[in-house]
Structure formats: C-alpha cells, structure tokens
Amino acid sequence: MPDIGVISSTIVAGVLLGGILALTALGLSIVLGVMRLVNLAHGDFLVVGAYAGLFFLQFTGIDPLLGVPVVAVFVGVLALPVYRLLLAPLADRGAEARMMTMFAVSIILENAFVLAFSADTRSIARDYATVALSLGPVTFPLIYLIGFVISVSLILTVHWLVSATAFGRDLRASAVDAEAAATLGVDVKRVQMLTFSLGAACAGVGGTLIGAAFQFGPSSGGAYLLNSLAVVVLGGLGSVIGTLAGGIALGALQSIGGLTLGDGYRDLVGMALFLLVLAFRPDGFLARGRT
C-alpha cells in the first residue's frame, strides 16, 4: 500500500492533469455539439499546436506559454480552409462523409508531420516543465498547475463566449436545430466554420501545453483523440463546463487507477469509464443541458 504522500500527490497531479485533458478535449466537444461531427483529426490539431509551440520558441525565443495566443490564432486559421474546402461541401451529406474526410485529413497530417519535421519524438524543453512543487506531503509538477490554470481560464472564456455573446447565441441555436436557426436568420455555415476554427484553436493551445508537459511526435494524435473522446462522453456531448468536469474526473480516476492497478492501466480505467457512461448515461454524467 503506497504511503499517504504518494496517494495524495498522485490524486492532486491527476486533478491538475485532468484540467489539461479538458482543454485538449474542448475543441472536440464544441465541434461535436454544434456540427455533430466527430473530428477524427482533432488529435492531429493538438500535434500541430505542439509543433507550433516548439517552433515558436525556436524562432522567436519567446516562451511558448506567452505565445499561446499566437499559436491559437495560427491553428485556428489553418482550420478555416479545411472547413471551407473539405467539410462545407459535405454539409448535406450526413455525418459519415465528413467524419471519413477528417479521418483522411488525420492520415495526411500525420504523414505531413513525418515529411516536414521527421518522425523524431520532441518535447518543448522549459525549466518550469521539470520543477516540482511541494505542499506538505503533497508533491506535484509545476507545469501541471500552470496547465490547469491556463486550461480553466480558457474553458471559462469559451463558456462566456458561448453563453453570453451574440456569436454564442447563434452557436447554441445552430447546435439545437440548425434548420430552425437558419430560418431565423442565423448564418449556420459561418457559425459552423467559426466553431470549427475555435475548436482547432483550443486544440492548438492544448497541444502547446502537452508539448511542454510531455513529449510528442507525428503519431501522438491518436492517443490524445481517444482521451478526448472519453472526456467528452464523461462531461456530456457539447457541454463546455461538462468538458472541464469530465477532464478533471478522468484525470483523477485515471490516477487512482494508476495507483491501485499500476500506471499501465490508466487507459484501461479511462476506456472502461467511457463505455460505462455510454451504456448508462449516454448524455454524460453531468449533462442536463448544453454549455
């Protein structure tokens, strides 16, 4: 039985990590909520963000955490032609065609990463990413705390955007009933395009955090997509605050799973939860309404 220090440190680290997981899943969640699209290239957008953060640091010398707004805009803008050229023409063709298109985009991106950046494993090396903080018996990584603060701030900002602005009103209307929203004058295609771009921008920020806290390579996207799907299902499809709660819950439960069963079983715990929630609470354990 691990001592109390190990148990408390693991759980605190899990909760903080959960905040970062929530941010990595946020883009997937809002795109799913508004566009009814499971974006299978979401993990690759995260990887784009990680590379963008790395090269931003290398070319400007500015800390990538200070540069996350630039990374967000960069990845968000990159997503616009993907929507305009590949997704918009398929708007009336059901979810399957758009999902398969994004699957193809995922494969192309992964191969493009290899061609452009080699298949090497990378990491954004910053001193603060390897500093431990101690509060009594509890020790946790500083980068997890930084990532948690950034993630929660961004998620709350997106929540405000969705719940208290004109764009958010259009977004919510499009999410509930796109046809009805269109008849009321909402430019649904524009809302969807901006939502897709916003989702990619959030993924970009999440990717930079992942790059600083962990390691990444061209094929890292798949694992983060799986975790993001689990977070979205736990928190409720399309729910911004639910995504935050889902991320924290997944991080904490995976940590407890790692503590009791071994670190190798973290993903098993996550996927078991994913299936249980899908079976018994398909709208997510927190979902009562969207956003």
Partner: protein
C-alpha cells in the same frame, strides 16, 4: 453535391496515397534486389532513420565499386526500403510484399525484437535469407530455431551486467536500493523482468520496486512516486524513446532524482538528448558501438554520417552497415542470387567489420561487445570499461 463529395474524398485519398507511396521505388530487371522494412515513422523512427543510412551506405559503396558479379556479369544492387510505421503487422506484410512482389533475393532486418522477429518469421517461411542487427540475441533465439535468419547484436545478460559492473568499477556509492521499470515488450520482459532482478541479487542490491508497463504508456506518476517513497537511489529502465523521454521529464517534475539512472533502448538515439536538453546529462545507456572502437572503418563511418546528414551519429549506423556488408559479402561469395547459396555463404562469415569480428554460432547469432555510455552535453561518452573511457563518469545524476 455528389460532385463535391467525390472531389473532396478523391482529393484526400489521392493525397494520402501519394504521401504513403513516397520512398518506394522499383528495381530494373538486371538489378540484384534486396529489401528491408524499417520503422521510418512511429515511436521507433529514431532507430529506423539511422538503419536506413547504414543499409544505403553499404549498398552505395558496393555499387560505386561496380556491383557484384553474378555468373561473371557485374550487377548493381537495388535496395528497396518500406516503412513499417513501428507496427509488427506492417513489418510482416512489408516483408511479404518485398518477397512476393519486389522479388528480393534476401532481406535486411528492422529494429527491436517485435519488428525484427515479425519480418524474420516471414523470411524464414519463404526461405529467403535475412541478416539483421537491432534484435537482442536472447529475444531473437527465443522465437525459434532459425535456418535463414542471422542476427548480430548484444547479448542481454552482458548488457544487464554492464550497469552493475560499471557502478562497482567506477565507485558509484549508493544505498543499493534499486527500482526497475520496464516495458512489456519481449526484450523489456527479459531484461527488466528476469536479468536485472537476478543480477541485483548477485551484486548486493535490494530491488525495492519492479514495475512493468505497456510499451506505449505515457504516464508514470505512480511508478515514480513509489520509487521515490521507497528511497531507490538506482533506477534501471528499459523503454523505447518516447517513453524514456516522458519518464525523465516526469521524474524531474516529481522532484525525484536518484543517484544513478540507466535507460536502456530509449536513451540510445540522439533525439533523446535533443528532446530533453540538460535533463539528459548523466543518464547511462548500454552501448555496443562507438566511433572510437578499434575496428576497421569505425571512425570513418561516424564522420561520413555526420558530414552527410549534419546530425550526431548513433551506434545504429554501425550494426545496420555491418549487417548489409555481411549480406553483400555473402552474395559476392555465392556468386549467385540463389537464396540457398547466399544463406550458406552467410553461415561461413568470419571477418572483422566495423562492429568487430563477426562469426555466427549455431544459433545464428554473433555477439557484439558492450560498453556503458553516458549522455554528457548532448553527446555520449564511454564511461565503462575504464580502459575504453572517452569521458569521466558523471556521478551522481545532476
């Protein structure tokens, strides 16, 4: 709208196909075709890129010298390399394709037991000779009695003992509490699950933790926390590169700094040190080759790699280069592209290559000598045995 769907999907499929097809070439009828499936992408890409260079260099050298005489006529060698994306299933299917469609006369191996053995089994079944490195000998021998596959690499018991011998010879004073973390791949289970625990007892270490994890695991918080709480001052790890990087970063961010940290496998390629920066300093890794080794062409090989690629060399250029040379020497000796004759010629190999003298035993294995390397300022230095030292032992871990 149907046109739109067609255009979108067609564009993406064409682009994907074009990207996937890159690097695959076609041989002419007069070439002697040999093949290899390598991890050029995926977690083991750090190894595959070095192997690719080693294989190509050996082939380029013999082609520049005029090729190999088959029935009195000089023929060029065509090397076809396919990317297995670090997936054993892809290695097997690539090997099938190379044999059945590309008509290779012989094969060169991939990297790590999971990939090498997957391709080797296909070669063995098709009776096409394969020469490989990058497959620890016990893991290679455990698969089956080989008839057409030949392996030159290190022997796990020697690699396992190197760290303990190095700590003893170099006077590394620790509390002798040892944590072992290893992946659940074939070599991880052999080295971390069997060899290290047995040697720990022999060298007077107490194993306070032995943790196994899936090969693609990314979170090590609990494992690290447990080792830290148990006061392990020596940590031995067997993991591939992405996991090795994750482990080192997570150890630092958990405030855990043992006196000795040895990471087998994953700490070998230079991308390990590039991703970690200063955090790689002081980490030990077993090595089977260094440009300072007194074997023909060793120093020149590293210089050639570094001048061509502008990258720091890796030991994987040496075993791959030697494996290709052994195969090409065998084809030359056979004077034929008949797989049986080539296989017989490989069995007779008895020559000094860039990795040292190579002579295969009855298990089709040739053992390479082991040294202990340590990352220092982004480069590796030999720290053990003392007679071969190219740098002072950095102790304790910074």
């Amino acid at each position: 709208m149907k046109h739109h769907i067609g255009k979108s999907l067609a564009a993406t499929i064409v682009l994907a196909s074009a990207t996937l097809a890159l690097g695959i070439s076609v041989a002419s009828a007069d070439d002697i075709v040999i093949g290899a499936s390598l991890p050029l992408s995926g977690p083991l890409a750090g190894f595959g890129s070095f192997q690719q260079w080693g294989y190509k260099r050996a082939v380029d050298e013999i082609n520049k010298a005029g090729g190999i005489a088959i029935n009195g006529t000089k023929q060029q060698i065509k090397l076809i390399i396919r990317d297995d994306k670090t997936d054993p299933n892809a290695t097997a299917s690539n090997t099938e394709t190379l044999i059945s469609r590309d008509r290779v006369v012989a094969m060169l191996g991939s990297c790590t037991p999971a990939l090498v053995n997957a391709g080797a089994l296909v070669s063995e079944r098709a009776k096409k000779p394969m020469v490989t490195g990058c497959d620890p000998l016990e893991a290679f021998k455990s698969v089956r009695k080989w008839n057409y596959v030949w392996d030159l690499f290190f022997h796990e018991p020697e690699l396992g003992a190197a760290q303990f011998k190095a700590m003893a010879d170099l006077g590394a004073k620790t509390n002798k509490k040892l944590a072992i973390w290893h992946d659940n791949g074939p070599d991880g289970q052999v080295v971390g699950g069997k060899i290290w625990p047995a040697l720990a007892k022999e060298f007077g270490y107490e194993v306070v933790q032995n943790a196994e994890f899936p090969i693609d695991n990314s979170q090590f918080t609990s494992i690290i926390g447990e080792a830290k709480s148990k006061g392990a001052e020596v940590v031995l790890v067997d993991a591939i590169t992405p996991q090795a990087i994750a482990i080192r970063k997570q150890m630092a961010s958990a405030g855990y700094s043992p006196k000795v940290l040895n990471i087998e496998k994953g700490a070998e390629p230079v991308q390990f040190a590039e991703a970690l920066g200063k955090l790689s300093d002081g980490i030990l890794v077993g090595g089977y080759w260094d440009p300072t080794f007194p074997y023909p062409g060793a120093a020149d090989l590293a210089k050639a790699f570094e001048s061509e690629t502008k990258l720091t060399s890796s030991q994987h250029i040496a075993d791959s280069y030697a494996a290709a040379q052994i195969l090409l020497d065998a084809i030359t000796a056979a004077g034929s592209t008949d797989p049986e004759k080539i296989n017989t010629a490989i069995a007779k190999t008895d020559k000094s290559y860039v990795v040292g003298p190579v002579k295969f035993d009855e298990n089709h294995t040739a053992k390479l000598p082991i040294v202990s390397l340590q990352w220092q300022g982004g480069k590796t230095a030999i720290v053990w045995p003392k007679a071969a030292q190219t740098g002072n032992f950095m102790f304790p871990l910074p």
